[in-house]
Amino acid sequence: MSRPRPEPIQQVKQRRDAALAALVQSVPYIQFLGVTFDRRGNELTGQLNYHDTLIGNPRLPALHGGATAAFLEITAMITLNWSVLWERVENGQLDPEDMARGNLPRQPKTIDFSVDYLRSGLPRDAYARARVWRSGRRYASVHVEAWQDDKEKLLAQATGHFLMAQAED
């Protein structure tokens, strides 16, 4: 038994990055907020790229709690969707070029989202990682944490429940 020859690294990276880019760039609100994603293997880190319209209170100044909540929800949703689609990206069932043309699988829908604000958001970039604790046929539960300079000092955390696309209708 000889194992199949592994794919060239560039081909692997190109496929994964193109699939992720198609998911992220298709959503106008993610572009409006300025959220981007770093990928290492299947692990994602969201980045809220600072700009002045993210500010809530201009006197402090501090990030708007709504911008923080939206960033957490985007990171939770993209991480969940990515984890669900990962296998189909890897085995070639999903074609990243086709995805980029707008042929995207239906995304999960948020059922509820609960945000715990721990610190005032500084006027600079924020980062977030989500963990999918349960992903069933119908429901998923996702926890997400955001930080700025020091990963040990969280800016905010949230838990959300999602309805999977296959469960609808």
């Binding site: 319209t53 709690g65 709504g66 911008a67 939206a70 509820d112 989202f113 604000y117």
Partner: protein, 140 residues
């Protein structure tokens, strides 16, 4: 009363993120606030259905709950969100303005308890509801 609404409207307008999302305060006082957010393509969360992103609804809920705290008769000088939970009951209809009404049910010297409801043009079934706790800073 109208002067208080005008001041509060100007305050909401001075928040860069609220302005960027197109929020407008239309009622303010007695621990309640109402804010509208017109539909805009930049708020879309699902490109296939053109439904706005839950995050935009969260930002609206957060702003409106904060405004309700500020309108409480104890006249807090400032407030910040401790926690906020949103229940998304249905997709907002694309093209329609979201209207959020928040009520501060109780404010102690330190904490305010707030609930909010968001509707689109079909006011019978809410798009989302929210429950939150907020910090309170009272005048010295």
């Amino acid at each position: 009363m109208d002067e208080m609404l005008e001041q509060a409207r100007a305050f909401i307008q001075s928040l860069p993120h609220a302005r960027a999302l197109g929020m407008e305060l239309i009622e303010f006082g007695g621990g309640s606030a109402k804010i509208i957010m017109p539909y805009d393509d930049k708020l879309i969360g699902d490109p296939q259905t053109r439904v706005i992103h839950g995050g935009a609804v969260s930002a609206l809920m957060d702003t409106c709950c904060g405004a309700a705290v500020m309108s409480h008769p104890s006249r807090p000088t400032t407030t910040a969100t401790i926690d906020l939970r949103i229940d998304y009951m249905r997709s907002a209809t694309p093209g329609q303005t979201i209207t959020t009404t928040a009520t501060c049910h109780h404010a102690t010297r330190s904490v305010a308890f707030v609930r909010a409801v968001a509707v689109d043009e079909d006011t019978a079934l809410p798009v989302a509801t929210a429950t939150g706790a907020f910090t309170v800073e009272l005048p010295a």
